[in-house]
Amino acid sequence: MGLETAFGNSFFTSRIDSAINWARKYSFFQYPFVTACCGMEFMSVFASSYDIARFGAEFPRFSPRQADVLFVVGTVNEKLAPVLRRVYEQMAEPKWVVSFGVCATSGGFYDNYATVQGIDKIIPVDIYIPGCPPRPQAILDALTKLQEKVDKETVLKYKNRGENERN
């Protein structure tokens, strides 16, 4: 990055960290990669009774280049795997991935010829949500967990990072 990383791990960066992390964790732009039935529960979180807007993450971006969080919602099969990988690679840093439901997390009960056994075989994942499908409360819980995780990050993490180091 720029000036802030030049000083290394010091008072200056830790102040910057807390300001930047505060801004990041309350303004997730998400990319919904919705492939299957889990999508219904995912949509309900946007509606008024659960209202994901309370956590500042209500804004879907249908271009990966403008998104911060990739929500992989539903079954991912081998045919789709290169597409998911490409969407992930198009997202700009910093980026996080949430695996939504057992299908995305481990393949679920689809242990067959067609289904990827967990999207972490293709892209790195930050938060896993169990359930088939997960209840909306679990989604909000995952979102707050992701916020806690983002809060612990430092801008130094992204210093001089190559494209493939994260993978």
Binding site: E78, K79, A81, P82, R85, D111, N112, Y113, A114, T115, V116, Q117, D120, K121, I122, I123, P124, N167
Partner: protein
């Protein structure tokens, strides 16, 4: 006179067996006469709707000859007579091929592509016989009984 009886009197040479499965009458016919009988069903008996078309792999099934490993099943419906009929066609393992019905019922087009994708049955006369569900690079036919249950073929290298 039901459709089955009409088939019986018109094509006595083509019929191998007639039966009833869970309340549905079916006719097992010789595969070379499929097109002829299908045409008769459509034009003479008014079966204007091909509801479904699928295949069964009987590999290792007790009491079946290994030679006729596959069996096609066609389910027809007539709106005017409110009648259903099922055609079954044995397909040999050595040359898994039957006539395509896509020129008679448009719905057969994608069904046949699916059966080709999943079982590797060839439909002679099909306008565009490509895989419909799996990807082009996929090797083999996943619903065949001898395809490994977890025979995944990743398109991109997996992470550790």
């Amino acid at each position: 006179m039901s459709a089955i009886e009409k088939l019986k009197s018109n094509f006595p040479q083509s019929i191998i067996a007639i039966g009833n499965s869970a309340g549905q009458d079916y006719v097992l016919i010789k595969s070379e006469d499929l097109k002829k009988i299908a045409l008769f069903l459509k034009n003479e008996l008014g079966f204007e709707f091909l509801m479904d078309l699928t295949c069964v792999d009987y590999k290792g099934y007790p009491g079946r000859e290994e030679k006729h490993r596959f069996e096609m099943a066609y389910q027809f419906y007539s709106f005017n007579n409110k009648e259903r009929v099922r055609l079954k066609v044995p397909v040999e393992e050595s040359s898994p091929s039957v006539a395509s019905l896509a020129s008679l019922w448009l719905s057969a087009d994608w069904y046949e592509r699916e059966v080709y994708d999943m079982y590797g049955i060839h439909f002679s006369g099909h306008p565009d016989l490509r895989r419909i569900l799996m990807y082009e690079e996929f090797q083999g036919h996943p619903l065949r009984k001898d395809y490994p249950l977890k025979g995944r073929q990743p398109r991109i290298p997996e992470r550790k």
